[in-house]
């Protein structure tokens, strides 16, 4: 193991991993305490409320009001569908563009151009086409989420060591073997980067659409609370959305750690030494 990989094992009299997670929690608690004090004694209750009030608002009305719960579930559903569509179509399009230099040279600039457009400007168009229901929100999440996947898949397919190609050919591997043993594993890190970026953007797209079309989804409730100067349930709602985002992100990270082959997967590094067996 190198110097960078093997830092001190004991910090503040406890194992490293525990010290790290303890520090993390301490930061979160300190921030919460600061907000509590500020919210309770200094802030205007029309704009900022203490953490305790927000937690209270989370139980009631956010979690207890059926309509809010329904709105949140709807948002999660829309994000999940938009994300799944982004992955499937993004990977398929990315691979088709990435397979040949010709396809890449012809299509990638167009993809990058589309990726660069700030899509919020197109939102009215989406609503015109897909209506006010879930379809429009899914479509908007999808058009946000698909691009990072396409771009990263293409990038991941691009830098293949020509020697690896020759190695597969000289060992008698077929085209499928090249895909399985070289192209796919070579692409994995870039693909997961794409997945993570795509998760964030899909969520952004869906939530933007939710806020814009405020007929009954979470957009309606955020507007309701904001306009009534009732920040506690508003923050509780936003906090819940943030929690959902964190959850989705951890899912991607777990998948990344389990599925990225080779020494590049950080979780595997410590296990692969000679001592392990």
């Amino acid at each position: 193991m190198s110097m960078i990989d093997a830092p001190r094992e004991i910090i503040m009299g406890m194992p490293r991993a525990r010290a790290v997670s303890l520090t993390r929690w301490a930061i979160i608690l300190a921030a919460a305490a600061a907000l509590e004090i500020y919210g309770r004694f200094f802030a205007d209750p029309a704009f900022i409320r203490p953490v305790s009030a927000i937690v209270g608002a989370w139980f009631n009305p956010v979690m207890s009001d059926e309509r809010i719960f329904w709105a949140l579930s709807m948002a999660v559903f829309e994000i999940a569908v938009a994300y799944a569509l982004s992955i499937v179509f993004g990977a398929a399009i990315g691979i088709s563009i990435g397979v040949s230099n010709f396809a890449r040279a012809s299509f990638l600039p167009i993809v990058l151009l589309l990726y660069a457009i700030p899509q919020v400007t197109l939102m009215p168009l989406f609503i015109l086409i897909f209506g006010l229901g879930a379809a429009g929100k899914i479509a908007f999440g999808f058009t946000h989420g698909i691009f990072p996947i396409i771009v990263n898949v293409v990038a991941g397919m691009r830098d293949i060591n020509p020697l690896h190609r020759s190695a597969i050919a000289s060992m008698g591997g077929a085209r499928a073997d090249l895909l399985r043993h070289v192209i796919a594993p070579n692409m994995a890190p870039a693909f997961f980067t794409g997945l993570r970026l795509s998760m964030t953007l899909t969520m952004l797209g869906v939530i933007l659409a939710e806020l814009y079309v405020s007929t009954g989804g979470i957009g309606y409730f955020t507007r309701l609370y904001a306009e009534n100067f009732n920040p506690a349930p508003l923050f509780a709602l936003i906090g819940t959305l943030a929690l959902i985002a964190v959850l989705f992100n951890s899912l991607v990270r777990v998948a990344e750690r389990r599925l990225t082959p080779g020494a590049r997967a950080p979780a595997k590094l410590g296990l692969s030494g000679a001592k392990s067996k």
């Binding site: 060591n161 020697l163 690896h164 020759s166 190695a167 050919a169 000289s170 060992m171 008698g172 591997g173 073997d177 043993h181 070289v182 594993p185 070579n186 994995a188 082959p261 080779g262 020494a263 590049r264 692969s272 030494g273 000679a274 392990s276 067996k277």
Partner: protein, 288 residues
């Protein structure tokens, strides 16, 4: 003694044995004839290599050694001429049953452990699953890397990686091994030690080897025959015979004829290297 060595080496073809590799009039041109970027890399190369023979390709940089090796291995088709391996024409298609490659750089896949890398190579060879690990471990132990089977290539030093890479080439059951500067990335001492290991290993397996190197000492130490090539376009300039039995001991390097052969090779190469450099200068001048 030297008679016996000749019998396995250069003399074998003369004695009527079918050559393991037969190269006939191979010419390779990159780019169109007369095009500014066009290069005549190989010009009418003919060469027979006997079974079990160790042949070195020696020549100035850019003379087409790697190109010739790739053509023999079927990685691509020459512009004209043909290569026959074990009686069958190589027509730009790899022959993994007959030929294994060891490239200039390690071609181990960084996303697999060392042992997994071996398993893939052996799988492509049609070696049954139950035998793969044993074969791989034997090969790794033979190059002193038995303890690193579960490491990833990036966790090894460059030299260790290349040693493993070489072991992989040797462990697959092909009769022919093509090696393109396998030791180029190593320091001189490691090269010597690894060269010695290679000589020992190969004497056991009886493989036919075509080996590209820039090291004169390596060429003399390892080869039965050394093919000296001219500057671009690559042609066969001379063939030098080394009459010495395998496996070779380091003592061979101390013999006077070792030094003599090295000097002879250097004299042959010097003119070609000068010509190669002049060619490069002209090309640079023409391009500007």
């Amino acid at each position: 003694m030297s008679e016996a060595a000749t019998a396995i080496g250069a003399g074998a073809t003369a004695a009527g044995l079918a050559p393991a590799i037969s190269i006939r009039g191979v010419t390779q041109r990159f780019g169109a004839v007369g095009a500014a970027q066009g290069v005549l890399a190989l010009d009418d190369i003919s060469l027979d290599i006997a079974p079990g023979e160790f042949v070195c390709l020696l020549g100035p940089s850019g003379c087409g050694k790697s190109t010739l090796l790739n053509i023999i291995g079927g990685l691509f088709k020459p512009t004209s001429g043909e290569v026959t391996v074990a009686g069958k024409r190589v027509d730009g298609a790899p022959r993994p049953d007959e030929i294994a490659f060891v490239f200039q750089e390690s071609t181990l896949f960084p996303w697999y452990t060392i042992i997994e890398n071996f398993r893939i190579a052996l799988k492509f060879q049609g070696v049954p699953k139950s035998e793969r690990d044993d074969l791989a471990m034997d090969a790794l132990k033979a190059v002193g890397m038995g303890g690193f089977a579960r490491h990833y290539p990036t966790q090894l030093s460059v030299g260790m990686r290349q040693r493993v890479n070489m072991a992989r080439g040797i462990c697959v059951r092909t009769n022919i091994l093509l090696m393109d500067e396998p030791f180029a990335a190593l320091d001189e001492q490691s090269r010597m030690v690894l060269g010695e290991d290679l000589s020992t290993l190969l004497a056991k397996t009886g493989k036919t080897i075509v080996f590209v190197t820039h090291s004169l000492a390596e060429a003399v130490f390892l080869s039965d025959r050394i093919v000296v090539m001219t500057a671009r376009p690559g042609r066969v300039k001379t063939i030098v015979n080394v009459n010495e039995r395998h496996p070779r001991a380091p003592d061979f390097m101390l013999e006077p004829r070792f030094g003599e052969m090295r000097n002879e090779l250097f004299a042959l190469l010097r003119d070609e290297i000068r010509r190669a450099m002049a060619l490069q200068r002209d090309a640079d001048g023409g391009g500007a």
